[in-house]
Amino acid sequence: MKRQGVNQNMGRKYAKPPVIEAVCEFRLPPSTQWDLTIPGLVYERVREEFPHKEQRVIQNIEVTEKPDAGGIQHKITAENRAWFLTEDRNTFIQVGTRALAVNRLSPYPTWEEFRPAIEKAVSVLREVVEVSGFQRIGLRYINRIEIPSPSVELDDYFAFRLVLGEGLPQLMQGFICGAVLPFLNGRDLCKVELTNAVPESQLSTAFLLDLDYYLARPEDVSAEGVLAWVEEAHRAVEDAFEDCISDRLRELFEEMV
């Protein structure tokens, strides 16, 4: 049985990593004191590395039970967020109400190059806000995988995939498959999702492999322990990614040995 929390794959490196977007997100509990000056205070401290600032409005979807309305009700709320971007726009920090996220777009460098941006953002947040804990911490990697073939057998490339019963049509027009997997005795969860995507060529097939690793028991991580959690999360996501793919995909990504 594989031990959780141990990097089984010792950080494989690829010449063509499939990561198209990585994001580390922190959400603070409702009790956290927050005001409109905070994004500005964050920007003052990061502007050297993240000179561009923009404002975006994002949608949050909340699902609540409303027995008198027939069961479940969906609510969209709009949230203003400040975005602070690097010169090349490949990395950016988002600051919303009690929310901080650090995004890295492709070309994804290495964890050693992405992690400092996360550390910086968290450190700055703790300078300007009294952080007693986190409501949610998540580290998400979305991989876009393009295979140069108009049709593929999923089990040639993926260890995480759909299995169709023999009586079902074996050619799929589209699919989604996912699972929520527990880690570290349920302290953390990882949502793994594989879907088809729009290929760039009619001669190829594309997929999105989305791994969203997050803290399920917020009380288990203190403000001081958050970066250690992020480091553990990265090791776990890296392992999970490798356990979802086959050597044939590693060849496509051109593993650097």
């Binding site: 027939g70 777009l105 760039e200």
Partner: protein, 187 residues
């Protein structure tokens, strides 16, 4: 069951922070007065009922609303998936994806503009979404090329009319989107 409703649902007043659905009331009901969602465009309004959800779910796929969540990719992929339905070509989809990931605040406008262009020019006109790069200055932006086998005298005027319909909405966005023609033959 999908029901196609009117293409342009104009000026629905909604509360400044909330848009309700999955209730017995349409989204515009129970509205406040502080914000107006204009040009709410829906290609299809899906109502579905089941044993577990008797009131059904209203789904507005092309609502001109802001992007969702902390990740940019899902909304970019949604936009790219919608383009073939409007017969918009993506000769270099990777470049368009790359641009939209960095300017994801364009995602809510793109499908509606492409649809408006398609409706204006019909199915015989080729539409191609590409990233234009200016070789003389460091500038790039998204461009929707309108290409016809035989160009009529009014094409420039028609494109300008379309631009007038959306350029104001681009104000304040991080990127730029241009509808134009290069007078080339369809590829």
């Amino acid at each position: 069951m999908a029901t196609t409703v009117s293409r342009n649902l104009q000026s629905h007043e909604v509360d400044s922070h909330l848009l309700w659905w999955n209730t017995a009331e349409r989204p515009s009901n129970g509205a406040g007065t502080s914000k107006r969602l204009t040009d709410l465009t829906s290609e299809s309004l899906v109502t579905g009922t089941s044993a577990t959800s008797p009131l059904g779910v209203w789904h507005l796929p092309h609502i001109l609303a802001p992007p969702r969540g902390s990740v940019a990719l899902p909304q970019v992929e949604e936009v790219l998936k919608s383009l073939p339905q409007m017969q918009v070509l993506l000769p270099r989809g990777g470049e368009v994806r790359h641009y939209l990931l960095r300017h994801s605040d364009l995602c809510d406008l793109l499908p509606a503009i492409c649809l408006a262009v398609r409706e204006r020019f019909g199915t015989d006109t080729q539409l191609s979404l590409e990233v234009y790069r200016d070789s003389e200055i460091e500038d790039e932006y998204l461009t929707l090329y309108v290409r016809q086998r035989c160009y009529g005298p009014d094409i420039v005027e028609a494109i300008e009319e379309i631009r007038e319909g959306y350029e104001e909405k681009l104000s304040g966005r991080s990127g730029w989107f241009l509808v134009t023609t290069d007078f080339r033959s369809p590829r």
